[in-house]
Subunit: 101 residues, 2 copies
């Protein structure tokens, strides 16, 4: 099954923003902000794996992440280059705000 990763320019801005406007998804994006490639299972933020899978799908279909299969795992990474090119400053601005200590 093709992972359905859209061309970022074809995704409406509102969809990108909506994808980022969720606490769980924002934590996932933060975890990927260093450019690392992580398996889905590594994003354990207190939700079930069904919910996690749902959030990863939202991020992927909003053009924020790419996913590739690796054995039984799927490795997720942030499409930072494309995002920074199309929306310069957006990711930095969003990621800069750390959760209150």
């Amino acid at each position: 099954m093709e992972p359905h990763e859209p061309d970022l320019t074809a995704v409406p801005v509102t969809s990108v923003l909506a994808a980022l406007a969720d606490d769980v998804r924002l934590q996932i994006v933060r975890a990927l902000a260093d450019g690392s490639e992580s398996p889905c299972g590594s994003f354990d933020f207190g939700v079930s794996k069904a919910t996690r899978s749902h959030h990863l799908k939202v991020l992927r279909e909003a053009g924020l992440t790419r996913t590739r299969a690796a054995g039984t795992s799927r490795l997720v990474r942030l499409r930072r280059d494309e995002l920074d090119q199309l929306y310069p400053g957006l990711l930095d601005a969003v990621l800069a705000q750390r959760p209150p200590a």
Copy 2:
């Protein structure tokens, strides 16, 4: 009635993003991007005035706009300085993307 304009630092990032993640609200923000101060009624984007009032409330409570009374009108303006300081690049990134011609 106090217009309930929160301290921007007290608003969660997700709320700011959620406020921007709507087409009507994004059009309002675009209309205010030049720093102008406009009455609520000037934002005629094909929704009823009840809906428009609702969207303006969402923007205000997300810390994106300020409102002041002026006669029977209410003038709305973007809190651009504060936004640019707390989320540098965010507004620019979002506003740069013009709807595809």
